[in-house]
């Protein structure tokens, strides 16, 4: 009985570890994210680590770091035509990214992971 109980606790522990490990297994598909960024011409204004007319993805990731709603906020930013300020002080609407929800989620996760 004790043996069964300890086996059960080990199994529970292992399952728990697997569950904890799950988020990293779902890490963004980098190649798919980059392909979508190319298709949507994101890289015309954003470098991965270099600022262009827009901030680098690294900088964007830093901005959202630690925020609970980071994923939702960045998704909204990419799909709502949000107002953005350019280096020369002018303002305009951000391009609306064309993608299905799963692709967009992957792109957002990849940007936030930079």
């Amino acid at each position: 009985m004790t043996l069964l109980r300890s086996s059960l606790s080990i199994a529970t522990l292992m399952a728990g570890t697997l569950l904890l490990a799950a988020p990293s297994a779902q890490a963004a598909d980098e190649e798919a994210a980059k392909a979508l960024a190319r298709e949507n011409k994101c890289l015309t204004c954003h470098g991965i680590s270099k600022d262009k007319d827009g901030p680098s993805f690294k900088k964007s990731a830093e901005k959202y770091k630690g925020k609970a709603d980071a994923e939702a906020a960045l998704s909204k930013h990419l799909t709502s035509g949000a107002k953005i300020k350019l280096p020369d002080g002018t303002e305009e609407a951000h391009k609306i990214v064309k993608a299905d929800p799963a692709q967009l989620k992957n792109l957002v996760q990849w940007i936030l992971a930079q």
Binding site: K34, A35, E39, L43, T44, G47, I48, T90, E92
Partner: protein, 199 residues
């Protein structure tokens, strides 16, 4: 018997060479003129028939790959209802260039016969190579087919977003051409493609 054939050939050749005794010159000219129009009209009609969207999507190689992708893009469906079909981008409008392109395109018949892109997998494997041919062709003609409709001078700073307009004016000043930046606008980009400045 054999010796009569060369004689017959010779007589036909002589008939062709000798002036007509039966038909007037104006009659012959009129006949030639009308036949020319009919021949030219027929030739051009067939040529233009090979420029239609329906013709291009007759083959499953186009219908199952590039066509569905193009249908998702702005060149197929947009606010103002202007559509650019396959030939608008892939076949020159000027006759001499059009003929050169059509003759080159006859190589695609060989591709069809040998099944070089007969499955979506085979097409994906060759997408980069085929796209590169088209990018090189557009680059070498200063994006001539894009410019049948698009013109730097016709771009409105009020209608275009500020960053986009600035990039276009910079491209114009630096002598860049449409295809330098606008790759993969009507079809998917090949998976091997990389932007020049991604980092």
């Amino acid at each position: 018997m054999e010796s009569s054939n060369p004689g017959q050939n010779k007589s036909w050749w002589s008939v062709l060479k000798s002036p007509s005794a039966k038909y007037s010159l104006i009659g012959l000219l009129a006949f030639g003129f009308v036949s020319g129009i009919v021949f030219w009209g027929g030739f051009n009609t067939v040529l233009e028939a090979t420029n239609t969207l329906e013709f291009c999507t007759t083959c499953h190689e186009m219908r199952d790959t590039v066509y569905p992708e193009y249908k998702e893009t702005i060149h197929y469906s947009n606010r103002s209802g202007v559509r650019a079909i396959c030939s608008d981008c892939h076949v020159p409008k000027i006759w001499a260039y059009k003929m050169v392109r059509k003759i080159k395109a006859s190589g695609e018949i060989w591709g069809k016969l040998t099944g070089s892109i007969s499955t979506p997998e085979k097409f994906e494997a060759k997408r980069m190579e085929l796209a590169t041919h088209e990018w090189d062709r557009l680059k070498s003609t200063d994006s001539r087919e894009c410019r049948n409709c698009h013109n730097f001078d016709a771009m409105s700073p009020q209608a275009q977003r500020g960053t986009v307009y600035k990039k276009h004016m910079k491209a114009k000043a630096e002598g860049q051409t449409c295809i330098d930046c606008h790759k993969g606008i009507a079809h998917k980009l090949p998976k091997e493609y990389r932007e020049p400045d991604e980092e």
